[in-house]
């Protein structure tokens, strides 16, 4: 491995619950223009390879990659789709730059969630058509089962999960692009409708529309273009992993695919003791309990320590390990394939010192984690450093 990869540009739209005034193409275009401006590049001249992350069912269009190149300035250039999380796209771009064949890579992901009229119907189509789909399970039901098991094992309660929701949605108040910011009270949780016990409506990240674009570049390009005075953010490690697809054969107590993804990223970033070396983490919180579960699987906290951590506020903004200072998916909104990129965007801002009220004091190493949501077992992790 000869190449070091840096993040040289980021751009995002506002995340909103509906966006009837713009098409998905306009969302992508806005994020791309901002990212190119941030990186100081012209996509037609400077970008060697483009990656977009999308799933046909979410787009309502088969072979969706057809409709991507024009908005990104990628027509007749090297462009392809990863049917995965935005962080999988980051991984693909990272690998391409590491070959030495490409200097500048662009990664795009977006959500036009408000166009999806039957999100649960789409989600059910992701289950095994022979064994699982006939049972008529929806994803929230599966999340409820899993949450129950997690709370029982860890000795935590719904209140601990509610603390995660309160923290993340309050953090989002200071994130200018977040779409689900709120200051919640105890009463809000008491009256939140139960969806699949113990999962209540407030425990679930709600969808939003938006787009994120990231520009990555090789160290050689960066040196030529900017020198080292601009204090770039480096992508020092990426890892990703899949567990078992079927509900019947996975280990419900453990999410070991998350640990494997993290270990791969730690290995590349040279991190031996993540709990000590990570300054802040942006962790998947599609459901409130997931943030807690993922912190354990990422080896940032021992399962037995979770309770003490939450009660002492260690993951709050002023805590030892701030988690989701962006507001997470609970506070920013759930962006389908772009959810991981939204965290990635925020982590880069924190490392650049551009987060205003939520700015953490002098962070040097960040962990960004994404999970594709139920019913999948696919996770990706990126380590960013300055």
């Amino acid at each position: 491995m000869t190449n070091k990869v840096a993040v040289v540009g980021i751009g995002a739209t506002q995340f909103r619950s509906i966006s009837p005034d713009v098409s998905y193409k306009e969302l992508m275009f806005e994020a791309a223009v901002k990212a190119y401006e941030d990186a100081g590049i012209d996509p037609r001249r400077d970008v060697d390879t483009f990656v977009t992350c999308a799933e046909d069912y979410h787009e309502g269009t088969s072979i969706f990659d057809e409709y991507v190149p024009d908005q990104l300035g990628a027509a007749l250039k090297q462009m392809h789709t990863i049917s995965g999380e935005g962080l999988h796209g980051i991984a693909a771009a990272w690998l391409q730059i590491m070959t030495g064949e490409f200097d500048v890579a662009v990664v795009e992901a977006h959500s036009k969630a408000s166009n999806i009229l039957t999100p649960h119907g789409v989600a059910v189509c992701a289950q095994d058509p022979i064994f699982n789909r006939p049972l008529g399970l929806n994803n929230l039901f599966i999340a409820g089962l899993e949450m129950n098991l997690f709370l029982q094992r860890s000795g935590l309660t719904s209140e601990h999960c509610a603390a995660v929701v309160k923290k993340n949605r309050a953090n989002a108040l200071a994130n200018p692009i977040a779409g689900r910011a709120a200051k919640l009270s105890v009463d809000d949780f008491r009256t939140s409708p139960m969806v699949a016990f113990p999962l209540s409506e407030l425990d679930i990240a709600q969808p939003v529309d938006g787009a994120v674009v990231v520009v990555l570049a090789s160290e050689a390009w960066l040196r030529k273009r900017h020198g080292y005075n601009s204090k770039p953010v480096f992508l020092s490690g990426v890892g990703w992993c899949n567990g078992s697809f079927s509900l019947e054969s996975r280990t419900w107590e453990r999410q070991d695919f998350v640990t494997k993804a993290a270990d791969m990223a730690y290995r590349h970033a040279g991190i031996e003791c993540p709990a000590k070396e990570i300054d802040f983490a942006e962790v998947d919180d599609t459901y409130s309990y997931k943030e807690l579960q993922h912190l354990v699987e990422l080896r940032l906290v021992g399962e037995g320590e979770l309770k003490g951590w939450i009660e002492s506020g260690r993951t709050e903004l002023k805590g030892n390990l701030p988690v989701n200072s962006s507001g997470g998916a609970l506070g920013m909104g759930y962006l389908y394939e772009a959810t991981g990129l939204a965290r990635f965007y925020w982590a880069v801002q924190e490392l650049r010192g551009a987060c205003g009220k939520n700015q953490l004091p002098n962070p040097r190493t960040a962990l960004v984690h994404a999970w594709r949501g139920l019913p999948t077992t696919s996770a990706a992790v990126a380590i960013l450093t300055v």
Partner: protein
């Protein structure tokens, strides 16, 4: 170009109209055959990549995750790439950058398509590939738009149907010798010209069939490749290019995106004179005119010259430049992504002298495989050599 990457094993299922096996099982069989062909075990595979075309074929959302158990992806870094019909050849480029980056020593590339799940006919899935506002209300299908393209090609160069139908005769007869072929048969020019007209000038026998099938290849870096085989086939160059979605504004007589992809791959491979430095070609031939179109895009001949090469027998198995000695999509079958990877597998077997009755007469050292898709807008190219 990055670290050297070799193909060390390949396997494919029989291509059939309606497989009894699930998509997962098809992927499993191809994977098992590829591993067995080089005496490797799944434990020795570092990462897995999957290629599969529209999710609608299998009727499964997040089809990548669905196929993961069959593709041997449990507990491994796993990613699905996607460029519509171009996916089969692109998947090798995707696997290539996994290994060329130095991040992975080995990578399993699996492509699967089960088109028979789509009822009543896979053509229905293609209604949803068009722009929802400007094109979909016209209810176009693929035969329609390819008839436009074929017409344009014939008109530009003053070609007759006979000049083009010879490709179908050659490929379907070549497929007679392929043990995994769906449609091999003794076909005459008269058979093609008297077959049912679907959308003039496209007739039934100008078209490849609807198929189910899977193909897998194993990629390895130089150290592993030398250990597991004494006949590695090196990936010398990869290329891809995606054109604008506005296909209606393009001159349909020449696939410029294929030329762009080919130029990228040739540059990487050090090929300066493709007509003489490429010894065998597997261009994408879902329709007979496409083989000709793509030979021109691949710079294997001048524009409008490919039909004459076919008439002169240059592209026959015993010709100077064997083209689709496998039987191509027209003869072996067209399970979309798997068909593209079949072409790379064919070059692997031909270059190693393991193609049995299909073995070309000429001694071949370097070959090119190519696939195409989306809205007539993507070209993907792989150059391999020994």
């Amino acid at each position: 170009m990055g670290n050297r990457v070799a193909i060390v094993g390949a396997g494919m299922t029989k291509f059939v109209r309606r497989a009894q096996e699930t998509g997962q099982e098809l992927a499993f069989y191809a994977t098992k055959m590829a591993l067995d062909s080089c005496g490797m075990k799944l434990d020795q595979i570092d990462g897995v990549v999957l290629g599969s075309a529209p999710d609608t074929f299998d009727g499964v959302h997040m089809k990548g995750e669905y196929l993961s158990p069959g593709a041997g992806a449990w507990g491994k870094p796993y990613m699905r790439c996607y460029v519509g019909g171009g996916t089969g050849v692109f998947a090798v480029a995707h696997g290539w950058y996994h290994v060329a980056s130095g991040v992975f020593d080995t990578c399993l590339v699996v492509c699967e398509e089960k088109m028979s799940s789509y009822q009543p006919h896979a053509q229905g899935a293609f209604l949803t590939i068009f722009d929802h506002t400007t094109e979909r209300p016209l209810k176009p299908n693929l035969l329609w738009i390819f008839a436009l393209e074929m017409n344009r090609y014939m008109t530009t160069y003053g070609l007759r149907k006979e000049d083009i139908a010879l490709v179908a005769v050659k490929n379907k007869n070549n497929a007679l010798d392929h043990p995994a072929a769906q449609l091999g048969g003794k076909v005459t020019l008269d058979d093609i010209l008297s077959s049912e007209v679907l959308a003039w000038p496209v007739q039934r026998l100008d078209v490849s069939p609807v198929s189910d099938g899977a193909v897998a290849v194993i990629l390895a870096n130089e150290t592993v490749a030398r250990r597991v085989t004494d006949k590695p086939v090196w990936i010398e160059g990869v290329g891809w290019s995606l054109d604008t979605a506005y296909w209606t504004n393009r001159d349909l007589c020449y696939p410029r995106y294929v030329e762009e992809a080919a130029r990228m791959a040739y540059k990487m491979a050090g090929v300066t004179d493709p007509r003489h430095q490429i010894h065998i070609a597997e261009p994408y031939d879902p329709f007979d005119y496409k083989e000709l179109h793509h030979m021109e895009g691949l710079l294997l001949c001048g524009r409008g010259e490919a039909p004459q090469l076919t008439v002169d027998g240059v592209t026959q198995r015993d010709g100077e430049l064997p083209v689709c000695p496998s039987g191509g999509l027209l003869g072996v079958g067209n399970p979309i992504a798997a068909a593209g990877l079949m072409k790379v597998a064919e070059l692997f077997w031909q270059l190693r002298g393991e193609a049995g009755k299909r073995q070309v007469a000429r001694k071949v050292k370097r070959g090119v495989a190519q696939a195409w898709g989306d809205l007539m807008q993507v070209g993907t190219v792989v150059v391999v050599g020994i």
